[in-house]
């Protein structure tokens, strides 16, 4: 089921939370939704799920408008909200059963779905405990199980790995990737490596507006502008290396990371000319080139660049 967001807007009084946001998510795609706190991620997600009303624009799910057929579309959406509110006095099993019944799952199938969710979210040892007695990680799992109990075609997960330990994070990421093969998944998180590990596409939102949309590689290419190389040259004097590197064709700047051990960082125009020239230089001067590492632009840098400037 595809999701199409068309000129979505939302204001809280004078404060504009989301302003004219449009994008599309296709079936079988995992979209990473990034943005600083207060950027409008959660508001957008809440409008998609019908958690809050739509201010302006529309959300089309499978061609149907959330504004007009919201009640019907809620059956196709599984949502894990950021704060994950739960009935703390209820045991896990009772709560999941309650959610399954609210979603209209026939009672003969409820037990099967419950067992499946308990297994997939590793809640077996905690299933009879009250939710209030669970740790944050387990509550997060209960929220995740609740979002998936009715086997929705769309999953919207707002920071799903918050509070989980590293093993659990890996398990949940794996689960999301598996789910993303058949379902449409929108995932919001502040953990950028998680986005790289899990998502097919990244969308960055800032101050209610979309500032970047693409795959991790395409964003890097857009952000890079120039090639950054770290090199280690042995059997050479630092001053000679510094002078020679500055004179290399295509190199825009060069600085020593640790001159005593022969480590340098050089910035050059993209295209790989600088790498060939550097190799030729070392051969001519009989220097030993022991390291040549292209430094990739980190997603954190892209994020900072787009959201701070």
């Amino acid at each position: 089921m595809d999701i199409r967001i068309e000129h979505l807007s939302k204001s809280y009084g004078a404060q504009i939370a989301v302003e004219d946001v449009s994008f599309e998510v296709r079936t079988g795609e995992i979209l990473g939704f990034l943005g600083p706190n207060g950027a409008g991620k959660s508001t957008t997600m809440k409008m998609i799920t019908g958690y809050i009303g739509i201010g302006g624009g529309d959300v089309l799910i499978g061609g149907k408008s959330v504004k007009h057929q919201g009640q019907e579309l809620k059956r196709h959406i599984g949502y894990l909200p950021e704060h994950n509110p739960l009935y703390e006095e209820m045991p896990v099993m009772d709560y999941l059963e309650f959610c399954a019944e609210l979603q209209g799952i026939p009672r003969v199938h409820t037990a099967v779905r419950l067992r499946q969710m308990i297994r997939e979210c590793s809640l077996d040892n905690e299933k009879h405990k009250k939710i209030g007695e669970l740790s944050k990680g387990y509550r997060q799992r209960v929220g995740l199980a609740q979002a998936m109990i009715h086997d929705p075609e769309i999953l919207i997960l707002d920071e799903p790995t918050t509070g989980l330990d590293p093993n659990q994070i890996i398990e949940i990421r794996k689960l999301i990737r598996e789910l993303g093969r058949e379902k449409t998944v929108i995932l919001s998180t502040h953990i950028l490596p998680e986005v790289e590990a899990t998502c097919d596409r990244i969308l960055i939102i800032n101050k209610g507006k979309i500032v970047a949309d693409g795959t991790a590689d395409s964003l890097r290419r857009q952000a890079a502008g120039q090639e950054v190389l770290q090199v280690k040259i042995e059997d050479a004097f630092g001053s000679d290396v510094d002078q020679a590197l500055h004179l290399l064709p295509g190199v825009t700047s060069c600085s020593a990371i640790d001159a005593s051990s022969g480590r340098w960082e050089m910035r050059a125009v993209p295209g790989g000319i600088a790498r060939r020239e550097l190799f030729q230089l070392c051969v001519e001067r009989r220097w030993v080139l022991t390291e040549l590492i292209p430094v990739e632009t980190r997603l954190e840098d892209i994020f900072r660049n787009l959201t701070l400037n």
């Binding site: 958690y51 809050i52 704060h83 019944e101 609210l102 209209g104 026939p106 009672r107 003969v108």
Partner: protein, 370 residues
């Protein structure tokens, strides 16, 4: 196969099983034990288990289980049960005494004295319910909506495929069902224990009066439940809504009658030589009683008195001319209900009015996710 077909045809309601057997036979497959058991299970399984439960009843079920498990309900249940047994003891000690029986007519309704008889040490069951019933209603309703809003579970609930008004309606119905079960159970328990200790079974008329009294009690407590739900929609903090509900209850149960009696005392007509003959004192008294009836406790008290004491023929002042020559026979149930009809409709109207206000306020309320 013919033999099996004949058997199925002979037995009513087995057409489905016959069709199933035929379909297997036609396909040339043999029914294994597992297949047969699975098919039988599908047939035996009630249709309701195959159909999803309506979301309204899902929420009602959750509300009921939530109440039954909560400490406040258990404490109130214990309190009401204790007063019930205390009243029963008082009733049993005084039943049949001249003070309790009063007139000959009352003696005909011996069993009903269990609910009304008292020697003054402990109030009767009806008086206890008049006092504690509102507390139960308030306890079940004061945080119905605002606690869900504060925890953020309300937005999660309405983001499910559930109509918004189901939530409020289900909260009311869930609490009402819990209360109704509690009061019917207590009344029937009291009736049963009375039967054992007195050894005289209630007549059909007495039993119907007891059931009518229980229904009236549920209605009375439903009014207070709705007041509490209304405040829980209006105020964000459960403590505020609880305080407001208790304030309204205290005012109507304690201060309002005092206030009316003070005003009545100040405005009462001076007794003159013709007092009691011109009807002004009776009119004045009627006005005072009518003013007192703005309090639901007074309506409940009037109605229970009439239902459980069939000899009561009027709820207002009577002149000597009106009672002259009247035979003090008990009234039939229909006549008693006719007397308390204004009280009943008044309580129903107040309950519905409160519910409508809560409904409008809830539907207009913006539910913001946390």
């Amino acid at each position: 196969m013919r033999f099996i077909t004949v058997i199925f045809k002979k037995v009513n309601h087995m057409e489905k099983l016959l069709d199933l057997y035929r379909s297997f036979a036609e396909r040339g497959r043999r029914i294994t034990w597992n297949q047969a058991i699975a098919s039988l299970r599908r047939l035996i399984q009630p249709a309701r288990r195959r159909e999803p439960l309506h979301p309204f009843w899902v929420i009602v079920g959750r509300e009921m289980s939530d109440h039954i498990r909560s400490w406040r309900f258990i404490i109130l249940l214990a309190l009401i049960s204790l007063t019930c047994f205390g009243s029963l003891y008082t009733g049993l000690s005084n039943v049949g005494t001249p003070k309790a029986a009063g007139t000959e007519a009352n003696k005909a309704f011996f069993f009903l004295q269990l609910f009304t008889a008292t020697d003054g040490t402990l109030p009767s069951f009806t008086v206890f319910l008049n006092f504690l019933g509102p507390l139960l209603g308030i306890a079940l309703g004061f945080d119905a909506i605002n606690s869900e809003l504060n925890r953020g579970t309300m937005s999660r609930l309405v983001s499910q495929p559930v109509h918004r008004d189901y939530v409020l309606n289900a909260k009311f119905v869930g609490s009402l069902l819990v209360m109704a079960t509690l009061f019917f159970a207590l009344t029937l328990l009291m009736t049963g224990l009375g039967l054992i200790f007195i050894g005289v079974p209630p007549t059909a008329s007495e039993f119907v009066r007891i059931l009518a009294f229980t229904l009236l009690t549920v209605l009375y407590v439903a009014f207070w439940l709705n007041i509490a739900i209304l405040f829980s929609v209006r105020f964000r903090q459960p403590a505020t809504s609880a305080l407001c509900s208790i304030a309204v209850w205290l005012f109507l149960a304690v201060f309002y009658p005092i206030l009316i009696k003070l005003i009545a005392k100040a405005l009462a007509p001076q007794p003159g030589p013709m007092a009691g003959f011109d009807g002004s004192a009776a009119d004045f008294q009627r006005t005072v009683i009518n003013l007192l009836r703005f309090a639901p406790g007074q309506l409940y008290s009037d109605a229970t008195t009439t239902l459980l004491m069939p000899v009561v023929r009027s709820l207002g002042p009577l002149t000597m001319e009106q009672v002259a020559g009247a035979i003090p026979n008990p009234l039939p149930l229909g006549e008693s209900i006719l007397i308390v009809w204004p009280q009943l409709t008044g309580l129903i109207a107040a309950t519905v009015g409160c519910f409508v206000l809560s409904y409008i306020a809830f539907m207009r309320k913006e539910i913001r996710a946390r």
